[in-house]
């Protein structure tokens, strides 16, 4: 197989799977198996891609280009850089786990459900590999449609409210981005991200950034987040915070920072301030949240802030740390939401006041939640510690106070995460925790353990990502040269 077709396969294979599932009149079980098979094949293709990726070479790899609208210089142009390859990997692995979760809990209207999950996979991969602005936009929007339906149909009691909020917020961002894309394309004569020139327009920068800060999200654009994360089915919350949020952060790196160097410096302090605000504000609200998913949701807001701090630090350590942290946090929050789902299935609630004492007699649940919790609060030696350390060391070179704020937020992270752990696992048994509530079953373990194993592997070798995301010795120089 030609290496460069791998990128397209990663996009279109799950979409083809989705169409197949919608066409074939299969039973629920067969549909789920087929979807799981497609998502596992996707993981296999990604492993092949990672194995063939040449880290000693600069520039775009496994590139494919076909002219779409010749006179507008729009082409179907896809390919991967080191950092986008890691995000594709995060996407396919997390989506496989989440699709598996949907299969495990037996979602109703299974053909619609699994088709949408596969469509979401393909679209998200497309966002991370698109090298043409219109293609990027198409996938960015295509990613949202399945999400609206997944939240609106399979969500909790207040799902419509959550969906409407989500639609309004993301649409507002996307439309401005579309306008910015068109203006950029007309002005520079091409929509291509690789060959297109940089721009000094502050308005265009803001048009892109608004879409990305809503998607990431950063404070105060997170109004959609708490409801969406609470009301969506757990596996969709997992995708939202683990993967979709990363699309916003990826957009900042790939488009806002790389294509708009001057506006980036001009607005650097403002964005850093928003990021720091997200970090502190998210941590404080996570500390006061009264339910499992609330804590994880607000901690995702805080983590997005942290990653944005790293990206807008504009230093070598900041960029590497941000990419590492995107992957680490993606794995962490995906697994945490899946475990939240497992807990809710056993107790019917995620409210802390009804939970507690689940560690006794449930060693697998206790071990996994404890491991994830301490990695999530960035215990030194973990992958997320490595990411946070690089980010804060990177932003320190910009100004010391950003790191001081970040270090303070790390203490807050310890406070909210330990609170979550003991509220679920420790002290007296909660009123909804029945003695018969089972430990994690083999099916659930098969979904979460690989993610945790990935995190432990990254903890042993964070340089695997931090040193393999950008070509050359200096990520900042690589960003300045448009990754060429």
């Amino acid at each position: 197989m030609n290496a460069s077709s791998l990128t397209s396969i990663l996009i279109w294979l799950p979409i083809a799977g989705a169409i197949l599932i919608w066409i074939l009149p299969l039973s629920r079980y067969a549909t789920g198996s087929l979807a799981l098979l497609f998502s596992l094949a996707e993981v296999g293709f990604w492993i092949e891609q990672a194995a063939r990726f040449d880290f000693t070479r600069s520039g775009l790899q496994m590139e494919e280009r076909a002219t779409w609208f010749g006179d507008l210089h729009v082409s179907y142009h896809v390919g991967v850089y080191g950092f986008s390859m890691w995000l594709v990997g995060l996407t396919v692995v997390a989506m496989a786990a989440c699709t598996g979760y949907g299969f495990w809990v037996g979602r109703d209207r299974s053909r619609a459900y699994f088709g949408l999950m596969l469509l979401l996979t393909g679209a998200t991969v497309g966002v991370f590999v698109a090298q043409d602005l219109l293609v990027f936009y198409a996938f960015f929007e295509a990613m949202l449609i399945p999400l609206y339906v997944l939240i609106g149909v399979w969500g909790g009691a207040r799902r419509m409210e959550a969906t409407i909020k989500f639609v309004i917020y993301t649409m507002a961002g996307s439309l401005l981005m579309l306008a910015a894309i068109i203006a950029y394309g007309l002005k520079s004569g091409t929509f291509d991200l690789v060959n297109g020139p940089t721009s000094a327009s502050r308005w265009l920068f803001l048009g892109f950034m608004l879409a990305f800060v809503i998607k990431a999200p950063l404070f105060p654009f997170h109004g959609w987040l708490p409801d969406a994360y609470r009301e969506a089915p757990p596996e969709v919350s997992a995708v939202l915070s683990g993967v979709i949020a990363k699309a916003g952060l990826y957009g900042m790196l790939r488009i806002a920072i790389a294509k708009f160097p001057d506006p980036t410096s001009f607005y650097r302090t403002a964005v850093l301030a928003l990021a720091a605000a997200a970090l502190v504000y998210g941590s404080l609200l996570a500390f006061r949240s009264t339910d499992f998913r609330g804590v994880v949701a607000y901690s995702s807001l805080a983590q997005s802030g942290l990653i944005a701090l790293g990206l807008f630090a504009g230093t070598d350590l900041g960029f590497d740390g941000a990419v590492l942290q995107m992957v680490a946090h993606g794995l962490i929050s995906t697994s945490l939401f899946l475990i939240a789902g497992a807990v809710e299935r056993r107790t019917t609630t995620g409210e802390f006041r009804f939970l507690g004492g689940m560690a006794r007699g449930r060693p697998a649940l206790a071990t996994l939640l404890m491991t994830l919790g301490v990695i999530s609060l960035a215990v030194p030696g973990s992958a997320s510690f490595a990411g946070e350390f690089l980010i804060l060391a990177g932003v320190f070179q910009r100004a010391w106070w950003w790191s001081a704020i970040g270090a303070g937020a790390i203490v807050l992270a310890a406070m909210y995460m330990l609170r979550l752990i003991s509220a679920v696992l420790h002290e007296a048994r909660g009123s909804t925790v029945a003695d018969e509530a089972l430990d994690l079953r083999p099916g659930e373990l098969a979904l979460v353990v690989p993610l945790v194993a990935g995190l432990l592997f990254l903890s042993a070798w964070p340089a695997g990502i931090s040193h393999h995301s950008f070509f050359g010795q200096s990520p900042a120089a690589s960003v300045r040269s448009q990754f060429k």
């Binding site: 203006a183 215990v379 030696g381 330990l418």
Partner: protein
């Protein structure tokens, strides 16, 4: 040599993994023996490293790197160990004393239904502690530093159904996270200036005075948090919620002394920031007095020993802070012996009394437990520093080196050291007189029971016996004026500063003064407590102040925790819910209303639509083009 270091580091990690993966498929006792064996294998590795380092010429140390752990730009940190005199001493102490305590745990934890989890945790702790002392750069040191904090959290909260244990565990973790954060900030300064955190590059050289002072302060913050020094000490007494062997291993013998190791390891930096180094010494002097005073009113046997630990680490900080690194390290070693011994004898007592920890109920226990009694006495005499017990040799040289400074603060430190010796004698023998001599009290008679016809299982008695011997003779390794192989060994890694090297005269009169002060403390304890006249001093204000541990907990609660919690709650109530979360629905409502209004232009004529569409898109594009 490096093989020994890797073996030492990885054996306990292997133990943890094995126990975790086997789960309930192996019997509890197998988990216990896996953990014990792995820690003794680690001790073997440490001996291997020590012996080969000794045979090496000049024994300056050697680095060994497995792979690059973290790399970015021109910063990289390897998964790198450093085998030098300082790290081998720590490896021997951690794995040696650790092995004895894990062995003791087999008897102590027997019958607990979550024994496997305990032994997985405790070998994970030993691994983390070894990573801390063997790490060849500051980043790995911080990794070990954080992981010992994690294992401490896990073990303090081991009995997780007790709310007090869970609270204590969280408190310990969060206070240590604060210390981790200050250390990380110090590292950021180092990275920004030198791009390296490795011990090789003569790190910290060439920094500006401000930077080096800040780095030293950051390191001191971490050290104070981990070693429970004022003002970050409040977690340690609460940590006694954990099982007693944990208190012996983590909260007395090894982890809490890590701050002293850190100062000795980074002494290049502290010597450039001499003021901060003296602040460390002053912190130690203050802590040793305050903790000694609080120990006087505690009624829980473990808490008395916990405060004594804080006080003794205060001595070590004092020694390392004035520049007598080898004296600080020597006291760290003897303290590991006698403090582990004291905790483990206390554990025997608690075990024999079915979990009772209140010393007011324990009178006359010595009659029933003679072995425990004599071993405790050996530990107590070593703690007070009565010759020829080990504490005498190590404590003396610390106090003497403060005299060698010859400055006004040097003399203040000296007086604190002597006063601390008096307090040590007083609180230690208060414990002794209240618990061991005399006729057994009715409570003791009623609750005392033997295990296996002895004072405890053999796995508990053997380590106690070994440590009693070490607590007695362990100090003979060094008697500063005449005989100092320990300092000589450490010299390549952490040479004592010239200003902190006492003369023979200073050594002698300090020895006499500390021993007399210790004896005086014992005498006062005898006068007050031997007849059990009163267990607690009577002056109400001071008594309340001491019982509330100088109100530190209340202060932190009022200054840090409550405002943070209240601020977070207010943010949610006043901003998040009314403003942020309402924006979406408001926007939605507005959209609907506007939609209802705009609906009127829905004429059904395609040409109107296309016109609007084109005009709108053109307008936005035009706006962007004009505005640039």
């Amino acid at each position: 040599m490096t093989g020994g270091a890797w073996l030492c580091l990885l054996a306990p990690l292997g133990g943890t993994s094995l126990i975790t993966l086997c789960g309930t498929r192996i019997p509890r006792v197998a988990a216990a023996w896996i953990a014990t064996t792995s820690v003794f294998v680690a001790f073997g590795g440490a001996v291997w490293a020590f012996v080969s380092l000794r045979s090496q010429n000049g024994h300056r140390g050697e680095f060994t790197t497995a792979w690059t752990w973290l790399e970015s730009g021109n910063f990289h940190a390897g998964l790198q160990l450093f085998v030098d005199p300082l790290s081998t001493v720590m490896m021997l102490i951690v794995s040696g004393v650790g092995g004895l305590i894990v062995l003791y745990s087999i008897g102590y934890m027997d019958g607990d239904d979550e024994e496997r989890r305990y032994f997985a945790y405790i070998s994970f702790f030993v691994f983390s502690m070894l990573l801390l002392v063997e790490g060849g750069n500051l980043l790995l040191l911080l990794a070990g530093w954080g992981l010992v904090g994690l294992s401490s959290y896990l073990l303090i909260g081991f009995w997780h159904e007790r709310p007090s244990a869970v609270e204590a565990a969280k408190k310990a973790f969060v206070m240590n996270a604060f210390g981790d954060a200050t250390m990380a900030l110090a590292f950021f300064i180092l990275i920004a200036h030198t791009h390296s955190l490795s011990f090789v590059s003569g790190f910290g050289v060439g920094l500006s005075p401000t930077a080096v002072n800040l780095v030293a302060l950051g390191l001191l913050g971490g050290a104070a948090a981990k070693s429970a020094q004022i003002p970050l000490q409040t977690w340690l007494p609460d940590a006694m919620e954990g099982p007693t062997p944990v208190s012996a291993l983590i909260h007395a013998a090894t982890m809490v002394t890590a701050g002293v190791y850190l100062i000795a390891r980074t002494h290049f930096i502290f010597e450039q920031a001499r003021t901060v180094e003296l602040i460390a010494a002053g912190t130690g002097a203050l802590t040793l007095l305050v903790a000694g005073l609080i120990a006087l009113v505690q009624v829980d046997i473990k808490r008395v020993i916990a405060y004594s630990t804080m006080s003794q680490i205060g001595y070590m900080f004092l020694g390392a802070g004035v520049g007598a690194y080898s004296s600080g390290m020597f006291h760290l070693m003897t303290h590991a012996f006698f403090k582990a011994l004291l905790f483990m004898t206390a554990g025997l007592a608690i075990h024999a009394l079915a979990g009772e920890q209140d010393i007011r109920n324990m009178r006359g226990l010595g009659r029933l437990m003679p072995f425990t009694k004599w071993c405790f006495l050996a530990g107590a005499l070593a703690l007070v520093g009565i010759p020829p017990f080990s504490g005498f040799f190590s404590k003396d040289s610390i106090v003497a080196s403060t005299a060698a400074l010859g400055t006004w603060y040097g003399w203040i430190f000296w007086v604190c050291g002597i006063a601390g010796a008096f307090l040590t004698g007083l609180y230690t023998f208060r414990l002794w007189f209240l618990v061991f001599p005399g006729e057994p009290s009715p409570f003791v008679r009623e609750h005392h029971h033997k295990h296996h016809g002895r004072e405890g299982a053999w796995t508990m008695l053997v380590p106690v016996g070994v440590l009693a011997v070490l607590a007695t003779v362990g100090g003979w390794l060094q008697w500063s004026p005449q005989w100092h192989p320990f300092s000589d060994w450490l010299e390549p890694a952490a040479r004592t500063l010239a200003v902190a090297a006492p003369t023979n005269t200073q050594e002698y009169y300090t020895s006499v003064a500390t021993v007399l002060a210790g004896l005086a403390g014992i005498a006062v304890a005898w006068a007050i407590y031997s007849e059990r006249k009163l267990a607690i001093p009577a002056a109400p204000f001071w008594r309340r102040t001491l019982e509330h541990k100088f109100w530190f907990d209340e202060l932190y609660d009022a200054v840090f925790y409550k405002p943070t919690a209240a601020f977070a709650a207010a943010l949610r109530r006043e901003f998040e819910e009314p403003v942020v979360l309402q924006t979406g629905p408001d926007l939605g409502r507005t959209t609907l209303e506007t939609g209802g209004f705009v609906r009127r232009i829905q004429t059904g004529l395609l040409r109107t639509y296309v016109l609007f569409l084109a005009a709108g898109a053109a307008g936005v594009v035009l706006a962007f083009l004009i505005a640039k």
